[in-house]
């Protein structure tokens, strides 16, 4: 067994209906697992069961083979935990706090000093070590929370929505940190941003209303969610029918349809707006080929980008798929009509 953490059929009920049910996954060293779901899906609940903060109603959690309920102490030593909105002690300085957490995690004095320096360096906390935590900005507090989680070099790192409330630059930094920690730890983190999870994770678990809806590698999920297709938005100056026909003949393209412009946005005169559906492979090449087709026709391209599927769309698709499969023989529910809802971000 080479997995560092195994979550086996975990169930946690708060009342008759709420909580999480039947969550299972395992993470190896060097892997990042993303727990993806909308608000109230049960992400925090799942992570709290894994860290041993909440007792489960069923199932097991093993960290390096130790059961969280039979050997809580052994498990806790091996976990670094960054809770949602990290609850730190505002009246302590960053150094005092890290020192305190290091003591609780049994780092000997000399090692503690070394580790605090290392972690402060890596998380760029060097300048604020002497500042009171209560006076730090949100981004710094999040980093202090992460510092305390990795201080004792745990094999497992668990982060609950680590990028919420950060500015774009801090989000990028936090993601980079998670990625780099993922190379030496087994990392589990939760998020409600599909894009982020896709970017960082080798395994994704999508959870909705306490149930695992689907899980797998990003490639698996993309195939499953889109039925193996990608969608592209193309805006070009030219006659609609001719442009659409040209794009339709590009290898890999399945369908092209004209798309109305989003409400409140008037389309520039003479520009057509097309939704292109294509196979999921060869992303960059396909973009090149689409461009090529436009150039060959002499139609200036105004915009060409792949549309991301938002989590909302994913759930629409998933629930649609569930309903379809319960009545008729399952057919990949990817035929999406109408304009993209909250699709590609600009």
């Amino acid at each position: 067994m080479d997995s560092v953490i195994d979550v086996i059929d975990v169930t946690k009920r708060y009342g008759p209906s709420r909580g999480v049910q039947g969550v299972s996954f395992s993470v190896r060293r060097g892997e990042v697992l993303g727990l993806l779901g909308p608000n109230g899906a049960g992400k925090t609940t799942t992570l709290r069961v894994i860290t041993g903060f909440l007792p489960a109603n069923g199932g097991r959690v093993l960290v390096e083979g130790h059961d969280i309920w039979e050997e809580p102490y052994e498990v806790r030593r091996r976990i670094g935990y960054l809770p949602d909105n990290p609850p730190l002690y505002p009246e302590m300085t960053v150094y005092e706090y890290l020192n305190f957490m290091g003591q609780l995690h049994e780092l000997p004095a000399a090692r503690r000093g070394v580790r605090i320096d290392e972690v402060a360096e890596r998380l760029q906390l060097g300048d604020v070590l002497g500042r009171l935590i209560g006076r730090l900005s949100r981004g710094y507090r999040q980093r202090v929370g992460l510092a305390q989680a990795v201080l004792h070099e745990p094999p497992v790192l668990i982060c609950d929505e680590p990028t919420v409330g950060l500015d774009p630059r801090q989000i990028a930094e936090m993601r980079e940190l998670i990625r780099s920690f993922g190379q030496e730890h087994a990392v589990i983190f939760s998020s409600h941003i599909l894009h982020e999870v896709r970017l960082l994770c080798s395994e994704i678990v999508i959870i909705h209303r306490g149930q695992v809806v689907t899980q797998g590698s990003p490639q698996d999920l993309t195939e499953r969610l889109h039925g193996g297709t990608t969608q592209w938005l193309v805006r070009a100056k030219g006659p609609g029918d001719a442009v659409a026909a040209a794009l339709r003949s590009v290898p890999g393209v399945h369908a092209v349809q004209e798309q109305p412009s989003p409400e409140g946005e008037a389309e520039t005169a003479g520009v057509v707006r097309l939704l292109v559906e294509a196979g999921s492979t060869g992303g960059e090449d396909l973009a090149d080929r689409l461009f090529g087709a436009l150039a060959a026709g002499g139609w200036p391209a105004r915009e060409l980008r792949q549309l991301e599927t938002s989590l909302e769309d994913v759930f629409l698709e998933l629930t649609a798929a569930e309903q379809a499969s319960s009545t008729t023989v399952a057919e990949p529910a990817h035929a999406k009509a109408g304009p993209q809802r909250g699709g590609g971000r600009r």
Binding site: P86, E91, F100, E106
Partner: protein
């Protein structure tokens, strides 16, 4: 290093970073000074037992304020989550919190030794009675802190915690105020804190009295740990 000591030391440091401890210490010394002057100089006596009785009443009001924060605040801010997922047991955590508060209370009680010291300068002081009265006061404080930490484990609202601990301590203080007979009366007398403190003010340190306070402390600490443990199940 023991984990409970790590927690206790943090608690101690934090206590003296907030103004609350200083304000309470100021009130404590101010009112104690007032009692001292009014009772002792007014009655022209060097017996300090009356002072100690008044300090105990003052403590009824101050102890809940010293303990209300301990667990309630951790629960409200969520820092409890990091403590209960760190490699230390709830018992070590609660014990650490308690010891931290106990150290603060020890400072309060030691500072109040100023009054016996002054008395011994002015006249003759019975150090035996003073020592046992002091021990009684300290034990009474230690028990009220245990009750207070229990109240603090029940809620995330500090005001509620303070009121509950005040009510429980007052109940232990006033059990003999009700007229009863037979075994009920015996029981209530045994449970009564002033009853258990009597010996101390007379200069006697009874084993039975020590057992009473120590079991009160451990009893309340025990149910505090249970409360911290159990509330995760709800």
């Amino acid at each position: 290093m023991n984990k409970w000591w790590v927690v206790a030391r943090r608690e101690w440091q934090v206590s003296f970073q907030s103004p609350l401890a200083y304000v309470l210490l100021g009130i404590w010394m101010l009112l104690a000074g007032y009692f001292y002057v009014s009772i002792l100089l007014g009655n022209q006596t060097t017996n300090l037992s009356a002072l100690y009785q008044n300090l105990i009443i003052l403590l009824l009001f101050i102890a809940p304020l010293l303990t209300m924060r301990l667990l309630a605040e951790e629960r409200r801010t969520g820092s409890e989550e990091l403590m209960l997922t760190a490699p230390l047991s709830p018992a070590q955590w609660v014990a650490g919190k308690y010891i931290g508060a106990l150290l603060v209370w020890t400072v309060f009680s030691v500072v109040s030794l100023l009054f016996p010291l002054v008395t011994s300068r002015l006249g003759t002081l019975d150090w035996g009675i003073t020592a046992s009265s002091f021990l009684g006061l300290w034990l009474f404080g230690a028990s009220t802190l245990a009750i207070g930490i229990f109240a603090s484990s029940l809620t995330e609202n500090q005001v509620v915690a303070a009121m509950v601990s005040f009510a429980v301590v007052l109940l232990f203080y006033a059990t003999t105020w009700i007229q009863t007979t037979g075994w009920v009366s015996t029981l209530l007398t045994y449970v009564s804190m002033p009853g258990q403190l009597n010996n101390f003010t007379l200069g006697v340190i009874g084993v039975q009295n020590l057992i009473y306070f120590v079991s009160l402390i451990f009893g309340f600490l025990f149910i505090s740990v249970r409360a911290v443990d159990l509330r995760r199940w709800t």
